[in-house]
Each structure stands twice: as structure tokens, then as C-alpha cells.
Symmetry: C2
Subunit: 616 residues, 2 copies
């Protein structure tokens, strides 16, 4: 029956002679060949899609895309695997095998990313997860090392994304480290290890990228690693040095090259201890390890972030994020982990869960959960020009058309009213023009602020160890129901800070229902940051008698191990506090410093209920 | 007859009772009102469009959009006027009145711009001309001052664009200037005028933005104006100092604040003359005055660029650009104009005309006309991975699908063959993947380069004065027919340089037909840049015996006013030179320096025909 010479007829017996005749009659042989090729392609894609949809999760081994541990730049393989996963249409898992993978920029796609509290810019993103649904990056215990100036992970407009079982490190951290050999009031002598390249040129100290790293170079700060501060780390305690403070450098410091890799740095009035580590930091926050933007249902499980060129995990305008069994901790030979906060959540919603993690040695808080205020730059008729003042909030999509907003007085933080956004025009990344469904509240003036009223997140922070980092433990500027329990804090500053202001950081806060329960605060406040082990503050500079920015805080069953009389609680403009069953124990971790402090400092608060029975 | 209560019936007599009855029958009163409102809107837009199309150029006075000389930030008015001009659909003229207009970022729209030979980035563009046809920006003799970090003008994907009758200045130039008061081998004492804010902090010198400029602040280098070089300017000659060279600073310089605004700057081995001006420059080229990308038929007439935060005019992938009767010259109280080249043309086509302009005191060439080479980073089967090596070429769209390319050996610059682009995939702003319609020429290896074969521009440079700038006069890396006539050059380096290389700048050149006629070269080569008053070079490092990168140069009827024996012509790997009727006269502008030079240095050239009759 092989009347036709086409591929189909050659390989199959045609069961229906009439159909075959029609087929032969309708199309000449060349066309028949083409139709068959097209059908084959279509059917294979169709069946692959069917398979993905009904056979559950599709697994894409990275080795099938040409990436193996220890070999070259695997960024192209990742891009190809992500493309295949997207084409599959169903749940997908990209899996690695144990070993070390290296990633540069040669295969990385770029996106211009506005990343709140980090630097915006065009980023080459190695793992670019965009408009995805149900994807898992399963490291299988692998170590991922990112070279040069690339963004390791970004999830954008996606949902059901999981990251599990891998570690993240960078070839050259933003923060440079050196061992202090000598110190006097005119400066310090520091020895820099080989893995922190530097030069002293024309009398000033500059830090450099790794020479000869073929996959490291990408953009214009490829070779210079700027710094704006020095901060002293104490290897003996595994934490920043007692009462260490940021020494601002503003730019590069005058310096003189000595023998070997030793440098004398000139800095009048510096205090430092030989044997400690000096960290040089603060130039950029360009490439957080994980950038999450406009996503929902994200999960991080068993991820270790050794170092990042920005924050560890930053999530913005996203909902339901869980971070469990993860670590932020430096890799061998380095003392500092992330260049900024370990985690950070901006204008998020749903549930935020941090459970059983270790956050240590990063250069800012373990977490900060807050909203955004935009400043009113001009009012003209019913049109309001708003400005994102802080440069690291540029490009933030604070509002939605039809959404509710809250007006707040800049100096008193008192809510001046609400309205709905009737129209929203984005002029550029700093300015927007808004119109509302109702007239502006009469007290609202240029300089006051607007935030979005949203589904404020419920927060659970449980079972974490937070220690050895710079600044605070956690910063809770969140209005949803918040539970902080069973954590161990050993923070150089305030362990738990409630803040919010409409005039400097423009971070919206104001707790409504927060329970701090069964935590251990072990020798906190050994550094210079904060006014109490737990502190309730805010940028209120007027009408303190009336303004009650934070409400309903309960602190129960916690243990405070203290080495001096630093306040247990500082409260400012708070309405509603219950203090019950908290124990205070003596610690000898640090020498006593604050000898005559009061345990509680309460200013401009209402409904304060402190019961210290059996506490001391 | 006002049977219906609608607006239309109230104001007009309805002439057709039957129609009116139908109208009333078909629609109820509320709907009739709406239909009439919609029709009115539609008709007014329709007649405006008709008017624009048939009434010729439509004039939009900026005053009608709320901008007046001397008042606030006019960027919003410009955006509104450009929007109205775009809506008009026909030729449009945006006109200003005489006076000073100020522009910041509040109303400026943003675009991410890759700008060759400048810094790429997200730019707030004040005059954003996009997809426009036939638009004129007529300044009417106005002065435009741009505050902070904004891009003054960008024309993208547009044609028939004219800029005429205005001057462009910035509130705070990138280049900082100070008067040298003292100089010794250990450093200099410089006094900075009030209009160049600076600070000496922790022992190093930093330059700053203007405090309290309400419309100046925009992005992250808002407050620090970085520098990487010092260069000495001589107010007596109105040019860079005799044999002045760039003193690299790499970053900030060690310094000490003295009384008033005097600063001692430490720099071993520096040579400088008290009374001269020291310029601190080289940090950025972020915001050229005019960025032209993918446009055709551009004209600049009677434009003065006093200062820019980058180049003056940069055109890329554009065709037919004429710059006539324009000036690049600093405003009062400043010695330096643009922070880089006055004009620059990359991968352009059609005609490039520079006629009757003054280009002075800018920090690089008056013009540079060249193509782009991309380096072959990898060859895998028929797929070639290309890389844009120079960071200021990132994002350049060098190739088009189906277009012809030329392969060139990196070290010899010899053409290795041609092919057509069969497929083109842009991985990111550095890397592309190309496939060709034919196998790669066998000699082509990783490290060699590819450029686009295009309609190379015809160039006319006529009647210009080029003086007092840093580096060269003009750099001609163009293959189209090129005429340089009736210009006056007084360049510190080579007045006319032919270059091109595939290993450092990656700028494609190679003249094919160039005539240099009736120009005056007045006391050129008083600085350190270049090997002759006219120089033909290129980055050829192998096969010099065979490689003839430049071809067919005629130099006729020019006058060379020389103060020493610096070579009139340096030629390297050139095929075809005619030297006819050029006069050499003695000048006493500078002391004699090169006393035993030869007038012609010819290396690895063919067909050299030099006639010096009546020359000396």
C-alpha cells in the first residue's frame, strides 16, 4: 500500500485506502512531506505539554543543559533550563547535583530592576524566573558561586516558587576585610589577605576585583570596590567588636603601603584593637542574592547565603513568603556575610514566615518588614505630585489605581485621612501624579506623606538564631498580626525595633497586634545602636501628646540575659503594652557599661501595663 | 422645535423634524447628551488633526504649557508640549522666547539608554523626542540650564528633527576647576571658586553638588562629582597648558584644607604653573547634551553647548546629521566646556556635515566618526558568541539580521572575509549569538572581530574652528567619501587622526577616499597627544608588511603654521597618499621643543606621493 513516496507512507501501513487516495490527490509529494514534518513537531510539543500537565512535576537536570560542577560559566545552561521549564507549562524542577557550580554573565539575561532598599539598575540575572508558576530550584546540596557583578536570583511576577538545598556565595564580596596589626590615635595598620585585592595608589586605599577571573567582569564597578565606612569585627566573639561604630570614610582613605600586604591607614581619632578584623563596606547594594518582586507563594528551604553584593533576600509587593531552615553565614576565610540585611520585606502581604533560620554576621538587620511612604511634592487643584525621596526607593510601585491610601502628617505621623486612587500617572521613577475620589483632607500639606492601605502581612518569626550582625536584630514595621517566639537574639543594637517615619527613611510601620513570647535575649545591646533591648520608636517630632503610632504590644515569658543596666524596653508614642512573666538573668559576656539605667523608659504612651513579678 | 431637552437641541435649531423625531425615538435624553459630548470631542480632535496635516507646521509656544523664562522647573511643560506636538501628527515647532529656562527632573520621562562612548543608564530625559517625524525645537535665542543629573535632549527612532537658536548649560559641570596658587614637586595649592563646591574630608578631596538647588537632585551621584584625572589649563592662551598631561588620580587625592577655599593637594612629581587652572575630570559621561539614536535627518543650527555631563552631541546608528553655525564653548566663570568629545558619530550613515562651527575647550576631540567591532568570545559549531568589550559600547546594536558583516584579524586588522547574518540573538548588553549564511573564514579565531558592513557615511567638515580642547582635533575612522576643508585647527595633539583597532577601543575605521584641503593648522601638537600634525595610525601589531588598513588620502593646499619640527605627517600601514601644494610657515606661539624631527614619518606604506615644492 506504499503508493505514496512520503515518509509517512514509507514507515506506516496506511489502513484506509480511500483516505490515502484523498491525501495523495490533495497534496503533491513535497507538500505531503512538509505537512508530516509540521504535524510531528506539533504533536511532540502537544504530548510534552500534556505530559507536564498530567504527569505532575517535570524534572530538568542541569547536566542535560551542559552544566557540571567545577566547570566554566554555567549561566547559559541555567537560562536554557529555565526556558525549557517555562515551555513545559506545568510544575517544573531544575535540579543540580552536589558540587560547586560557577556563574558569570555570559548567558545571563538582563532586566532593569528597581529593588527597594537596594540599588536599582540594569542587572544580569543568572536565575531569572519571570511569569512562572510552580517552579523549584533544587540545588541537591550544591554550592553556587557567582562571579563579578551579577544578580544571582530574581523572581518577578511569579507564583509557587521554591528554592531548596544549595548555598550561594560570591567570588569577591563587596565588603573587604583585613586584620588590624597596630592601632593608634592617628590610624591603623591592616594586613589584607590575598582574597581581598587592594591597591594603594597616589596615597589612597582602593579595593579591587579579582584579577584574571574570566567570568567576573561585567559592568563599570568591575574593578573598584568602593567603601564608605569601616567597622571592627572581633573574631573572639564572632561578632562586631564591643561598642564598635561605623567610622565614616566618605570615600577613599589616605594610606601608605608597607611591606607585604600591610597598609597604614590614616584616620585621626580611630579606636581599634590589634587582632580584630576591620571591614570596609558601604559602597553599593547592587546585587541582592534573591530579589522577589510582585510574586506570591515563595519558599526558601535549606538555603545558605554566604555572601551577597547587597541584601540576602529582598521581597517587594509580594505575598506569602516562607524562609525556613536557612542560614546567612560567611564562608571559610571570611568574617562578614551579606553586605546589608539578611532579609527584607517591602509592601508585602499574606503571610511572612521566618522559621528555624540562622542569621549571622550580615551588615544590617536580620529582617525589616515595612511599607513605603511617598512624599507630597506639590498639590495643584485635585492633582497631587508625589516623590519617592529615598534614592533606594526609586521606581517603587507604591499605589494601584482604585486602591485605598492613607495620608499621614510628616512630623506627627498622625493619620490625616483616607481616600481612593482615582487616577495614577507615573512621570518617572521618582515622581507620580495622583488624583483621588474625594477631596484631600484639609490638614494635608506639601511635605506630608501617602502610603498604600493594603492587606498587611501576618508575620511569624519563630525558632531563629540572630547574632553577630551589625545594627539591630529585627525591625518590625508591620501592621498585620505578628508573632515573635522562641528565637535567640544576640544583637549589638536593639534586638526588636518598631519604627516608621515619614521624613527620613520613609518606611511605613505602626504595629496593631504584636506578641513577643518565649524568646531569649542573650547579651544584646553590646554595640552603639538603639535605646533598649526592645524599642518602640518612630520619627514623631510633633504632637507627641496625641500621636500613638504603634498599638497593642505584648511581651511575655521571655528571658533577658543582661550584662549591664541597659533598658529592657524603650517605648515612645505607644498605645497598649502588656509585660508579663519575663525573666531577667545576669550575663558576664561583656563588661558592665550602662550602670544606672532604668529597665523601662516610657515616653508619651497610653495603657501601659508592666508586671515585673518574679522577673529579677 | 426644542422638543428634546439635550444640550444640542437647546443650542441649535434642528432643521429636519423627521430626523429629530428618529433621534428622540432612538435614544433617551441621558444617552443623547452622552453621544453629543463624545461627538464634540471626536470632531475637535479630527479637525485639529486635519488642521495640522494641511496647514503645515503647527507651532506650540512653551508659554502655553506654563513655562516662562526665569521660573522653576520647566521639564513638565516640555513633556506636555512634546505630547501635544506628537498628537498633532504633522510637522511641529516647539518655540521658546528669549530668556533663561531651567530644567530639572520632576516632569522628565525616563528611558534606559545605551549611549556609545558614554555611560549607559536610566536617564531622565527633559526633551524626549521619540518616534517623531518633523519636529523643531526653536529656542528663539533662549538659554537652557539643566539642573542635576538629567539628559537634556534625546532623539530616538525619529526623523526630520531640528534644534535651533538656543544655548545649553548645566548648573554644576562634571569637571571641577580651581586656580593653581602654588606648585612644588610634592603637590599643588589650588583655590576653588564658589561655583565648584568641594570638601576635604578625612584627608581626601571630594567634589560636591550645589547645595540647596531644589531641582537638581536625581540619582545616586547627586552629591559626589568623581574625578580620575587632573589636567592643567592656561587662561593666557585659552587652551590646555603647553605639554600638559593627564595626571591620573585613580580616585580621590590626599589633600589638606587651608584657609578660605584653598586646598593643598598632595601629588608627588606633579608639574604645574601658578596662575593656571587645574581641571579635575573623568568620573562619568552619563548625560551627553544631545543623544541621537536610530534617527535620520537631524539638523543643529545656531546651538551653543556651554557644558555637558558627557559628550556634546553623540549620534549612533543614525543617518544624515548636519551641525552648522554651532558653538561648543564654556560659559562665563568656567574654563572647560564639555566633559568629553564635542561631537561623536558611531555606526552612522548617509551624510555627516559639520559646517562653520566653533569647538573649543572640551575635554576630548571635536569629532570622532567610527564604527564598532565586536570581539569573538566563542565559536561553537556555526554559532559565534560575540562580546562588546569596551564598557561604553555595552548595549550597542551593531548588527542587523540579514545584514553583511566583515571579519577582521585582531592583531593585523586584515579583513578575513565577509558573510551575512542568518540569525541574531541578543543574550544581554555584552553578548550576542550570531549565525551566518556561510561557514566562517578558516583564519577567523576567538579574539578576532566582526563589524557591520553598512552604508558608510559621506563626511563634510568645513569652515570650523577647532581649538583649545584636550587631545586631538578630529578623529576620522570613516570609510565614506570624506572632505575636510577650510577649517582652522589649533589642537594640542594631532589635528587629524585616522585610527581604528580591534583590540582596545574596538572602533572600526579605515578611510577609502579622504581629501584634506585648504585648512590652516595653526601651532598644533603643543601637547602630548599624537605623532604628527596629521597622523594615520591603527592598532596593527602583526603583518605590517601586508596590512593596509587606510587607503587613498589626499592632502592639498593646506597651511601648516609650526613652532618646531614636529612631524607634519605620520603615516602607518597606509596605501595611497598624495601631498600637494601645502605650505609650511613659522609660528612663535610656543617655544621650540622638537628640534630635529622629520616632516614626514612613513612606515609600512605603499603608493606614497609627496610633493613639497614651494612648501618651506
Amino acid at each position: 500500500m506504499n503508493a505514496c513516496g512520503c515518509q509517512f507512507c514509507k514507515t506506516k501501513n496506511f489502513a484506509f485506502p480511500l483516505l490515502q487516495r484523498c491525501w495523495n490527490f490533495l497534496f503533491e509529494a513535497r507538500i505531503r512531506e512538509r505537512i508530516i514534518v509540521c504535524m510531528k513537531g506539533f504533536l511532540s510539543v502537544f504530548f510534552l505539554a500534556l505530559h507536564c500537565l498530567f504527569a505532575g512535576e517535570q524534572v530538568f537536570k542541569i547536566s542535560e543543559f551542559g552544566a557540571f560542577p567545577g566547570k566554566g560559566d554555567a549561566s547559559g545552561a541555567v537560562a536554557a533550563a529555565l526556558k525549557a521549564a517555562a515551555a513545559c507549562g506545568g510544575p517544573a524542577r531544575i535540579s543540580f547535583e552536589k558540587g560547586t557550580y560557577h556563574f558569570g554573565c555570559a548567558g545571563a539575561h538582563e532586566r532593569y530592576l528597581f529593588v527597594s532598599n537596594n540599588d536599582s539598575g540594569l542587572k544580569a540575572v543568572v536565575f531569572l524566573i519571570e511569569k512562572a508558576d510552580s517552579i523549584t530550584i533544587d540545588g541537591g546540596g550544591a554550592s553556587f558561586v557567582f562571579h563579578g557583578n551579577v544578580s544571582p536570583f530574581a523572581a518577578i511576577n511569579s507564583r509557587n516558587v521554591k528554592f531548596e538545598n544549595f548555598s550561594v556565595d560570591v567570588s569577591r564580596p563587596l565588603v573587604s576585610e583585613g586584620k588590624i596589626l597596630e592601632a593608634d590615635s592617628g590610624g591603623i595598620v591592616v594586613e589584607f589577605p590575598e582574597n581581598f585585592p587592594y591597591c594603594v595608589s597616589r596615597g589612597t586605599l582602593q579595593f579591587r576585583g579579582v584579577d584574571g577571573d574570566p567570568i567576573a567582569l561585567y559592568d563599570d564597578f568591575k574593578s573598584v570596590y568602593p567603601y564608605r565606612f569601616m567597622l571592627e569585627f572581633d573574631p573572639a566573639t564572632g561578632a562586631f567588636a564591643r561598642m564598635a561604630r561605623d567610622y565614616p570614610t566618605l570615600g577613599e582613605l589616605p594610606a601608605k603601603q608597607l611591606d607585604g600586604r600591610k597598609v597604614r591607614i590614616f584616620y585621626d581619632g580611630i579606636k581599634a584593637k590589634p587582632g580584630n578584623i576591620m571591614a570596609f563596606w558601604g559602597g553599593h547594594r547592587k546585587y541582592p542574592s534573591f530579589t522577589i518582586s510582585n510574586c506570591s507563594d515563595l519558599r526558601f528551604d535549606n538555603i545558605t547565603i554566604h555572601s551577597s553584593l547587597g541584601m540576602g533576600i529582598i521581597a517587594q509587593n509580594s505575598g506569602n513568603v516562607e524562609i525556613s531552615n536557612c542560614k546567612v553565614t560567611p564562608s571559610k576565610g571570611r568574617y562578614i556575610s551579606c553586605a546589608a540585611d539578611a532579609t527584607h520585606f517591602v509592601n508585602c502581604s499574606g503571610k511572612i514566615i521566618l522559621r528555624n533560620n540562622l542569621f549571622e554576621r550580615q551588615l544590617d538587620d536580620a529582617t525589616n518588614i515595612h511599607g513605603i511612604y511617598e512624599q507630597i511634592a506639590d498639590i495643584s487643584g485635585g492633582r497631587v505630585l508625589t516623590r519617592l525621596v529615598h534614592r533606594q526607593q526609586r521606581g517603587f510601585e507604591t499605589f494601584v489605581s482604585g486602591g485605598e491610601v492613607e495620608f499621614v502628617k510628616a512630623s506627627s505621623m498622625i493619620c490625616a485621612g483616607h481616600a481612593k486612587v482615582a487616577s495614577l500617572e507615573r512621570v518617572n521613577s521618582r515622581y507620580k501624579v495622583l488624583e483621588f475620589d474625594s477631596p484631600l483632607p484639609p490638614s494635608v500639606k506639601v511635605g506630608d506623606c501617602i502610603s498604600r492601605v493594603r492587606d498587611y502581612p501576618q508575620v511569624v518569626i519563630s525558632g531563629n538564631i540572630i547574632r553577630g550582625n551589625r545594627a539591630r536584630g529585627i525591625l518590625l514595621n508591620c501592621r498585620g498580626k505578628t508573632l515573635v517566639e522562641n528565637n535567640i537574639f544576640s544583637s549589638p543594637g536593639t534586638a526588636i525595633l518598631f519604627e516608621g517615619d515619614a521624613s527620613f527613611w520613609f518606611e511605613q510601620g505602626g504595629i496593631r497586634d504584636c506578641l513577643i513570647k518565649n524568646n531569649t535575649f542573650d547579651s544584646c545591646k553590646y554595640g552603639v545602636w538603639g535605646r533598649g533591648i526592645i524599642a518602640v520608636g518612630s520619627g514623631i517630632r510633633a504632637d507627641m501628646d496625641k500621636s500613638r503610632y504603634h498599638k497593642n504590644l505584648r511581651i511575655e515569658g521571655n528571658t533577658f540575659r543582661v550584662f549591664d543596666k541597659t533598658p529592657l524596653l524603650y517605648a515612645y508614642c505607644l498605645d497598649g503594652l502588656k509585660w508579663r512573666g519575663n525573666k531577667v538573668e545576669k550575663s558576664d559576656s561583656y563588661p558592665e557599661s550602662c550602670k544606672d539605667g532604668r529597665p523601662f523608659i516610657i515616653k508619651y504612651c497610653d495603657n501601659i501595663d508592666i508586671d515585673t513579678e518574679n522577673s529579677f
